[in-house]
Amino acid sequence: MTERLAHLKIQRGGFGEAPAYDDFEVPYRDGMSVLDALIWIRTNKDSSLAIRYSCTNANTCKECMVRVDEKTVYACTKRLGTTPVTVGPLTNKRLLRDLVTDIVPPREKLSLLLGEPSSEE
């Protein structure tokens, strides 16, 4: 049997850089999430891909929001199929790098603790 593959086009790059896209093929498993694929990519193909998540399964931390085909989703609950998808960062938050945006609440920012001028708002 030929291996089934999921195809992901992932936006790369930091704030102020022109976005680039990398294509990845990931072994498909029934029921897999977008986060499962992103973790597989970091582990097996490209560990420099920046993603943000914590709880992995529980859908309680709410840290893993990204855009899949222009729709905002939780990467850990969005199911992947075998049709190609494009994954990018949230567009209404400041981009840090790749799929990671600044979602830290204003009063919890490290820059505030360090007394640095706020980088947004």
Partner: protein, 573 residues
Amino acid sequence: MTVDVTTDVLVIGSGAAGMYAAVSAARNGADTVLVDKSLIGRGGATIMAQMTVAAAVGEQEPDHWSHHLQDTLESGRGLCNEELAAILCEEAPLRIRELDEWKIGWAREEGHMKQVMAPGHGRERCVYVDFLNTGPAVARTLRTQIGRAGNLRRASELTITSIVVNGGQVAGAVGLNMETGTAVTIQAKAVVLAAGGLTRLYQRNSASVNMGGDAYALALRAGAELIDMEFVQFFPIGHLAPRLVGMDPIMWDPFRYKLGGRLLNSEGDEFVQNYGHAETSNKYTAPRDVASFAILQEVAAGRGSPAGGAYLSFEHIPEADLRAAFGPVIDRLAANDIDLTKHGIEVSPIAHYHMGGVRVDGQMETRVPGLFAAGEAVGGANGANRLSGNALSEAFVFGERAGRFAAEAIGDRVDSWSNEAARSAVDEIMAGRHVAKRQSGPGLASMLVTLQKIMWQDVGLLRTANGLANARTLVQDIRWDIGDYPGASDHRFALSMQEWFDLRNSLLAAEAIIASAQTRTESRGAHQRGDFPSTDVNQTHNLISRLDGEGLSVMVAPLISKPFDLIPLEAAE
């Protein structure tokens, strides 16, 4: 070098223990800073906890903390630090009531808190928030208190990489600024280490990404001791298959509390009763270590499920009962193509909690003056096996105490910060910034997967001298491979750098588990040795780990016992 932040009390980690410690330090008058490598209140186990919290509030039926203590000690297989266990049980009701005042919303019926039975408890003792919402409610409630406290600052995305000790005293900490990849220096008179557990070290786990054992490694490197590191608790019925998204792998526990449910092997037979515990279909009473061990043995005997576990079946329970007990959760299962009335699901033991940890006294202070610990990071209270529901109670009680005693301690302490003492910690972060900016290909993430496999195979549910020796060598090899500072840097959102510090910590925590497991040549509670299958009364003692110039060493320490009176209870109505 300049000091970036100055405070009285620094709290590392913002789960239940860290948030409680921060609130407590602040209300006891200390200028307090709370930091987390993830987002405040979201990164650890706390927000993922779904079910119950054990406390003898005695609202469901008469209860007294001495009975909670008796159950805790029995579950601990003779190894509990009885002073810590007594503190946990005596103060848990205070914290449950305080959280109630803070409007956490404990489930109630007929005007009283609803308390349910959980395995190992002799009474209906465990409070919760519906539906499967205890952890998120805890996190939300404590975050609100943090927002209200006056002299309390907080910051996300700061990974503490070293605790700074000078002249034998805590002086502060150094951390990695995740956004910029640079070092942050924090001067503090007292530090509370509340950085959570280590279950991410295992291939099958219920952990978040931030549970790789930082607390234990930070403590060891600061000169503190660890206790009983060999006791990792495996949760017997973690979800294994089919792939379930958006739900925690330990979600079947509450189902079993409320509805029973049958644990079956591939031949369709119940088996837990064959391993020394009489469990019947409608009751969920087998302690965690017994149930985990039973599943493992069935798999080894060739009677496991296809994915390598056991079946959990609710097929005999009417749909209406399932819905009445779990409402919306049934729909979430349906979205995952799971219909409990038609099929069993596959479950397996997964690493879930760590009984061992940082060695502290009754004031939560380590042997390093000014260094306190709280929450799952602390070892000893739960001995060789933890009762369900005790982990959150422990986080609240030890958190509150650590914050309070840290605030008290700063009174007689002067700042002991020196740049020299912080130098190497700052340098290893800055060294990482000078290496290649971007490194693709599999990197540290795949090394972690290798570590997880080693730990699962050789340092998991069933251990042997050979397996442990093999694991120790492999762990030391990986440690050698990763070098002395991060080998990749990424200046915006420094994930690769963080992963290097994480892995270094995970490897040290793993080695501490292995070293203790090698020393304990008996089977007891969560530590099962294939080559020493019975419990040895002569090993009814604790094992203490230390790190010094010679590396990691393990030594025996006598138990801390504290006799108590079991207060008689009126008969339940």
